[in-house]
Amino acid sequence: MTNMNLAVEMEPSAASHVFHDTAFIDELRLQMLKFATLQVRDSQLAEDAVQEAMLSAYQNIDRFARQAAFKTWVFSILKNKIIDLLRKEKRHTSASQLEEGPNLSGDALIEHLFEENGHWQKDERPKKWDQPDHGVENAHFWKVFDACLNALPAKYGRLFMMREFLEMDTSEICHNEDVSVSSLNVTLYRARLRLRECLEDHWFQKETAT
């Protein structure tokens, strides 16, 4: 394992009890599955990756003590499995659905949205989002949301998912991804900016235009 620095010296028997904490493991499995499914976009592949990561964790359990460290470690195993999978499978995304219109991100998007003096460009000022029914039952909205998520640059998407879907805290993400707190915050800002722009272009503005 690459994250040897996370290892805590301890009795093997004390570590393996983690697997007997059913509530903890169930919750962790669910989080892993969410994470994997969002990245590989195939529930069977995701399930396999989680299974393999869990098995690998079980076989190497003697290195781990604390549950927090355990979680980080298992996720790092899972991430490697996902990377392997993504390398093998040609990733199929629906990003092509969103090809029309500028698909800017990072500094380019910020330049596009704001004037030099730091104020909103006239056409880009956020308007109220009318939400006729973007409810969970509106399948079309979630398709757009899904596509917008897919269209995020990979790094934005990963950090955004860790924060918003896995609900990992800042220190955990920074430790896991080896990024500084300020860089994480800026990346999340850019991810949200991009996602907001995409949702507005492909859902909210469209609604009001028709």
């Binding site: 969410k34 730091g118 915050n185």
Partner: protein
């Protein structure tokens, strides 16, 4: 005076860390007079809520 560019970043960071008293005051003053940034702030919270529903939905899709 805080500009929209900084204000939008603060409105995002607000979701990730507690703002300092100084930041809160500057942001409140800005959003009091800036409708687009006020909308932006609401939309940041909307996006968080949507993400929550989306993740929940993914979970229930599996069952």
């Amino acid at each position: 005076m805080m500009k929209c560019k900084q204000a939008t970043q603060m409105l995002s960071e607000k979701l990730d860390r507690p703002l300092s008293a100084k930041e809160k005051i500057a942001l409140t003053m800005h959003t009091a007079i800036c409708t687009p940034c006020r909308q932006f702030g609401k939309q940041m919270e909307d996006i968080r809520a949507m993400s929550k529903s989306y993740a929940k939905k993914k979970e229930s899709d599996r069952d």
